[in-house]
Symmetry: C2
Subunit: 419 residues, 2 copies
DNA sequence: CCATTTAATTCAACCACTGAACAAATAGCG
DNA sequence: CGCTATTTGTTCAGTGGTTGAATTAAATGG
């Protein structure tokens, strides 16, 4: 069994860097048309797609025929139309075609979900447990059981799982090794090997590995790209126990030379500040990490589970607790300083507060905006938006599943060839 | 005369986002083959190109025929071969085809140069003068005279100018307006309008404007990408009077949502540090800007021209001047702190010291590496390289000219259609 | 001098898109 | 109710560009 491990989701750019044969022509147009169907606000007709893409109606018909045959697209009920003419048959992404399996291992929960082509979450299941004392092999074993449940749920709904993606709160290298997941206590964990005993996740479908491992913050950012306020460039900050960021540039996740981009938690806020366990001093995590906020809020000993702490903080802040308000203000200032650097560097216009920061956005936002206003050179010409993420704690798992279906939409040929 | 102004060089991605007709097929393969010829270390044969790209030899021959007819490629002398078989005819980029005109306006000089398809600098001319007291219209007038000289030189060598690019040390928006060039004293200067009286620069060749305006740091980074140590992702820091950075990700310049990326000079090193004229506090420019280094080195009153100051500092440092050494060390530490943030964020493996920093690299490098070692989370697994730029002060102008020819190589159809 | 080897060209076949004509399905109007 | 206008979708000959195999070209080596 030749298992090829690919780490980290890569949405193939529709255009191959290599030779362009005539088959590529159809390949590119399949991707083009399917992409438009996916992006359209309402089911488009073949004629509308032709007008939109510049292809002829004849070609669009041929392409759509392929997509329908491959169960990627179905015809919607003819919708009430105004004006004369033969009524259009609307095209929608199939609700019973391929789907993506999204998995997540985090500090205090496991999650699995199934997302269909249209991006709808068709199954979702969370298993709460503190995973720090659990061995990696054990944790992954539990995850496989969750995945089996999800697979059964997908089958029951007529969906075909086309791949899976796993989000981990740490650095993942390009052979599937989790180099370091500090808050989980993992170091050099070979996820592929540990999962190798579980066949459902280790198949290779047409050259694409059945499972892809990626950083959790990256996947959360992807979910915001697809489910959230849509296209553009933005920074998605995940405030979990650690602080991670996903960088979306021009509708694509930027991963860096080795896939380790977005390690925002250890950007120095005050280079001479208190030492951080990373070895540096005055890192952002020392000011805006969950533990630091809790300590500053006087809740250090409260021993709250990591996933309820943000809501507890929001509750107290809403009630006007001065210590908590001050702690959040300080965290917001630190975040603002860091984010200003990022914006000066990358010229982004949007910052999304995700993970644990989402419920705290009302209190983090004002000090962040104040710092940005002061420190970002171009703020005068174009304002920067800071907003909470639309998806909550489930973002990473949903983003993982979404990355699977987005890969199909970006390169439908791979799926069609599988049949 | 319909002059379309496009600001900022954009290398077209060979694959159009729109419809893919059969003509696109040839278009893509022209770009593919020409790109391989440009990237090859020695003149490749048609057969080698076929093997490399996956196209058939028949197709490669047809494509090459088009390229030769369009004066983009010529056949090199048959080189001595080993082994049996018909000798290959090597293909090289034409030395008498299209060329790019590169222009630069900086604080104390103007520059123009001509670069051919192969990236060779075929003409170069610098005009030294302090341009701060000169009006923008006047400065651009002088630049046009320099450009005319360059055009004559290109003609004399049988080159055809296919476009021009202008580098400016400031923020350029997408209609050609220089929003702010602080060290030049420019604000809201409409470069296109001021150049409109000079026909040679305002033609539109086949939909592509004859002149493109861009930030100088971006163009310097591009020159490093093409002339320097080649492909990859890196941060190019230009230490002129201000500090700018060009970000190259996956062999492409990243420009940001509005083209204002790389404003690294105002990233805070110490958020409570001395106030900066940008309105923030403790910005990098306050520690590693040319004026700050000179002040720390005790040369504040020396009134050195901006372009000789770095060499003077290098001279003194080489002679062991303790004050200068200390000043450079402090600047290096500040640069190291900032660069660490950038690397944590973007996961780059290379930092290039360009502009005025290039001659100072021997002294800046050690403290930078020390900070990176300490603050970059992933430094343990993969080392970060810090090196001086290969091109000196001429980098921006050469990069500008190079961007013109790179655009032709990336999409040769535009040039071929022009005939 | 001829077999071997590699390079490049020629040519019929084929694939996918184009453009125009045609069929289908509706609304509006007398 | 029937006719026209209108828009959607399909059919089909035509075309551009690639493929693959055969052919020609130009060298080496025994």
């Amino acid at each position: 069994m030749a298992v090829m491990w690919q780490c980290q989701e890569v949405i193939p750019t529709a255009a191959p860097a290599g030779a362009v044969r005539q088959g590529s022509l159809r390949e590119l147009n399949l991707a083009l048309v399917l992409g438009r169907i996916a992006a359209a606000p309402r089911p488009p007709s073949r004629a509308a797609l032709a007008a939109e893409t510049g292809l002829t109606r004849a070609t669009v018909s041929a392409v759509v025929e392929d997509l329908v045959a491959g169960r990627l697209v179905t015809e919607a009920e003819p919708q009430p139309r105004s004006g004369a003419g033969r009524p259009a048959r609307g095209l929608v992404l199939a609700g019973d075609g391929p789907a993506g399996l999204g998995l997540e291992v985090n500090v205090d929960y496991l999650a699995a979900c199934v997302v269909d082509l249209a991006g709808e979450v068709r199954h979702h299941c969370v298993h709460r447990a503190d995973l720090r004392p659990v061995s990696p092999a054990d944790a992954l074993g539990r995850l496989v059981r969750l995945a089996a449940e999800a697979r059964a749920a997908a089958d029951a709904q007529g969906l075909i799982l086309a791949g899976a993606a796993l989000g981990v709160p740490g650095l993942v290298d390009d052979v599937g090794l989790v180099r370091l997941a500090p808050n989980l206590g993992w170091r050099d964990v070979p996820v592929p090997e540990l999962l190798a005993e579980h066949p459902p996740l280790t198949e290779v479908i047409d050259g694409v590995p059945a499972l892809v491992v990626d950083n959790e913050a990256n996947l959360a950012a992807l979910s915001e790209l697809h489910a959230g306020a849509g296209p553009g460039s933005f920074l998605h900050i995940s405030g979990e126990v650690g602080i991670g960021a996903g960088i979306v540039l021009d509708n694509a996740l930027y991963r860096g030379a080795r896939g380790w981009s977005g390690e925002i938690g250890h950007i120095p806020v005050r280079p001479d500040g208190p030492p951080c366990r990373c070895g540096g001093r005055g890192c952002l995590e020392r000011y805006a990490g969950q533990e630091s906020i809790l300590a500053a809020a006087g809740l250090a000993g409260a021993d709250l589970p990591a996933d309820t702490a943000p809501n507890r903080l929001a509750e107290l802040a809403g009630a006007g607790d001065a210590t908590v308000l001050h702690a959040l203000h300080e965290a917001g200032v630190a975040l603002g300083v860091t984010v200003s650097s990022v914006i000066n560097l990358l010229d982004l216009d949007t910052v999304v507060l995700g993970g644990g920061y989402a419920p705290l956005a009302p209190w983090l936002r004002p000090p962040m905006l104040a710092e940005i206003e002061r420190r970002v050179l171009t703020a005068a010409w174009s304002p920067v938006t800071v907003r909470p993420a639309v998806l909550g704690a489930t973002a990473a798992a949903v983003g993982a599943a979404g990355s699977v279906v987005r890969r199909i939409i970006a390169r439908p040929v791979a799926w069609l060839a599988r049949l």
